[in-house]
């Protein structure tokens, strides 16, 4: 009985992130549009886009291989699994121990690895430029992320995300220098991971500066829908991660009664709204940087992560 309930809650979390992901993307777009004094598309537009794309036929390039057709499913699956392992409204879910924070990052790395391969598969110059730049960005973003994970793991004494989130929600965490550095670093990495302004612009097409959109240029129909859904999932994953680590209020402990589910979910949706609004606000108030300024941006994140880890190594009180 308990097992069935736990299964149900784990399943609910998986469906929750999947259904909320396009909404968050739509919400960020709406916030940006309103800040620019535009009406903007309706909130549900990403869902409509996804359904339209899924019903369309796929136009596949002549030189595309079987790998090109498999990759959207792989990318979607890896991102979805990663997103459902991040605590949203409740910690200690049934399968939360199957992959810790390092493994979640590596799962995102797997998705990126295959997407970059897809960019090279058709053999066009746009796909190549996207893949090459994506891997350059990842080569700095991933170590920065790992250093931030080190900091969090050393503070909480665990790399298990559920345990870390529970520790963050407990009063013993307090204000720490290393936590502040990790927060700034994590926000910078999250911006780069999701290809948001100032690192990349999710709204551009036909520009040499674009990264993610260039990589998936050859995709169409249901394949494109899955990739769009995966990038929405990645956004919700990053916001959930920031929320469960740095704003753990309202998150339920493992054994909480089923009746309090509503509280947890409401708090989670509220946090997503705040996160989405802040992201929209940030994106409208800053200009996109040149591609070769990105290494400096991410280098700063890496240094912040390294500094935070060093502080933790030097003394437990930082």
């Amino acid at each position: 009985m308990v097992l069935i309930r736990d299964f149900a809650i784990q399943g609910a979390q998986m469906l929750l992130v999947l259904t909320l992901a396009p909404l968050l993307t739509g919400f960020v777009r709406k916030v940006k549009a309103r800040l620019l004094r535009r009406q903007g598309p309706p909130l549900v537009q990403p869902y409509l886009d996804l359904f339209r794309l899924m019903r369309k036929e796929v136009v596949l390039a002549d030189s595309a291989s079987w790998l090109f057709r498999v990759i959207p499913y792989l990318v979607f699956a890896a991102t979805w699994v990663a997103a459902s392992l991040v605590p949203t409204f409740r910690t200690g879910l049934l399968f939360s121990w199957s992959a810790d924070l390092i493994a979640i990052i590596a799962l995102l790395g797997s998705a990126r690895f295959f997407l970059a391969l897809a960019g090279l598969d058709v053999g066009t110059s746009f796909g190549g430029i996207g893949s090459s730049r994506e891997m350059m960005i990842a080569s700095l973003a991933e170590p920065a992320m790992i250093m931030i994970v080190f900091t969090l793991a050393l503070i909480a004494g665990s790399t298990q995300l559920s345990t870390v989130a529970e520790f963050m929600a407990s009063p013993q965490v307090g204000l720490r220098v290393s936590l502040g550095l990790a927060l700034i670093g994590l926000v910078m990495v999250a911006i780069a991971e999701n290809g948001r302004v100032p690192v990349d612009n999710p709204a551009t097409h036909l520009e040499l500066t674009m990264v993610h959109e260039a990589m998936v240029l050859e995709y169409s129909g249901r394949h494109l829908a899955l990739i769009e859904l995966a990038s929405s999932l990645k956004l919700i994953l990053c916001v959930s991660l920031l929320a469960c680590l740095f704003a753990p209020w309202g998150i339920e402990a493992a054994g909480a009664a089923a009746a309090t589910l509503v509280v947890g979910i409401t708090a989670y949706v509220g946090k997503l709204a705040v996160g989405g609004f802040l992201l929209g606000l940030f994106e409208t108030s800053i200009a996109k940087m040149r591609v070769f300024r990105v290494p400096e941006f991410l280098g700063a994140a890496l240094m912040l992560g390294l500094l935070a880890t060093l502080l933790r190594f030097v003394s437990g009180s930082f």
Binding site: M54, A61, Y73, A77, S98, L117, A138, E218, L302
Partner: protein, 669 residues
Amino acid sequence: MTLTVALACAAVLLALGVFAVAIGRSSAATRLVYGASMIVAAISLIAAAMQLLGAAEPLRLTLPLGVPWLGAHFRLDALSAFFLVVVDLGAVSASLFALGYGEHEEVPQRVLPFYPAFLAGMSLVLLADDAFTFLTSWEFMSLTSWALVMSHDRVPDNVRAGYVYLVMASFGTLALLLGFGLLAGPDGLYTFAQMRAAHPSAPLGALALVLALIGAGSKAGIVPLHVWLPLAHPAAPSHVSALMSGVMTKVAVYGFMRIAFDLAGAPVWWWSVVVLAIGGITAVMGVLYALMQHDLKRLLAYHTVENIGIIFIGLGLALAFKAYGMLFASALALTAALLHVFNHSLFKSLLFFGAGAVLTATGQRDMERLGGLIHRMPQTAFVFLVGCAAISALPPLNGFVSEWLTFQAILLSPQLPSWGLKLLVPAVGALLALSAALAAACFVKVYGVTFLGRPRSLAAETASETDRFSLAAMMLLAALCVLAGILPGLFIDALAPVSTALIGAHMPAQIGGQWLSIVPIAASRSSYDGLLVFVFIAISGTLAAAAIHRFASNRLRRAPAWDCGYPDASPATQYTAMSFAQPIRRVFGTIVFQARERSYMPPPGDTRPARLDVELSDPIWDWLYAPIVAGVLFAAERLNRFQFLTIRQYLSLVFGALVILLLVLAVWS
């Protein structure tokens, strides 16, 4: 029993080498030699695995070989058995691969005699229990592999590769010889048992450790002693490249571990500082070198350097924890390093086999002339993809497990009391994370440029799938990569006897835990379940595919590539390996390699082509080796004069030397 079997296998391999000289060029010789090598290696593999898994007591044997009054001592303990498993697994798969690949060999008479001898040499290094046998086998291994590197000596680069290899191998053996000399002491305690019982003093042990690091490290390919490796490994036939990169470097790791963990006495904390710093630098430099390459086999060889760095990081951590008596942490770090030894031997062999298959099919090693091979060689492309994903440390494959364990060991290190280590370990952790991320970029480049895209040459366009023996060997290794990724607990538990023997503790038993997950320390601290992650990805991917095909659309139409409306039919407009690495070259290469790009754009009206020149310099060759080479040449030039003296000058030289010797003697006493 198992030791006798292993020794008998080595003897049979040696005899096979001699036999191969006799049968020489005949057409059946290739099949006979590789087939027999495979069977013998498989028998040896079973014996070694029985010894390791049975966790039996170490076996000893003394044979009346070698120097008459010394004899040759052999011993099979857990450490030797583990490395023997790695060597024999590599040997079985390489022999299987060569059953097909060897058919294309132009000069089989220069490969066949040395191949089994090389396998025997590696096994004997692992079984040796005295310094004399160890060094003899070590040199035998070096020389046979050198002969294999030189088998295609008409290729100009190979001669230089062989020369550099020979110089570095001699240098490495010299360092090992001095190291064993120090451990043996003035009484000449040349067996390992006597060295172990002698408990060397701390400074002596430290000196022996440094010499072992130089001697074994030069064979393993640690920076800055790696220079021969990217020259020699690709020069050999591909199945030998796989053995040299995947297996022989591991024999060198064994040599280092035997001295550092077993013979040199109790470790001191600063030993680990040296090993960790070298490991971190080796990891990042190796992958950066690899990223700058566009020769497929040389890139893989450089990438071996990176993985050796990761292994040494694990070993350094194990030394540090051991020095402070934190035995469980030490066992964790050691297990991580050993697991990476095993994993790397799997995927690096697989990738070299794939490179060999591509070489047979197209005659090309240069990635800039390949492309689109996934259409022409679908099965090779699939197994090569598994290898690329595994070496890039992607879950749920095996490369990720060993890197994850290394990260877990790093996270235990704030408890180390020493300040030097407190500052060094986070930096090494950052280097490890950086090298893992760069490795993923490197293998996107390898796979994307070689197998994906459109063919860049006629050879790539008309390639055909490789033979079934080669495919079988690659599929065997790919299956093992997946198995070790989703059931890592099996392999971690098998390593327990090794870490018990060297450290005195081992990781908690993993099999029997919840859902086959691995829990290195405690469930609340960290756990990872490759099987579940694999199942989750498989289920959600299949569900998505089924749902979309059932409820939405499954129509598909082929059309020319979109490419923003400007598709170009010429394959030259694709991204190449050089252009793929350009952003990374610009970010890291300008500092590390002083990369300079010069572009020349002719003025309008001029019909000359535009040019882009990229200049890279190798800092280690320029700053370390070039001065040494210049110094040696300078000294040789000076000493050369002594060959052209008159008889009077020679006599006065002899007289002068005599007087000086007498004076020294007089002052001495």
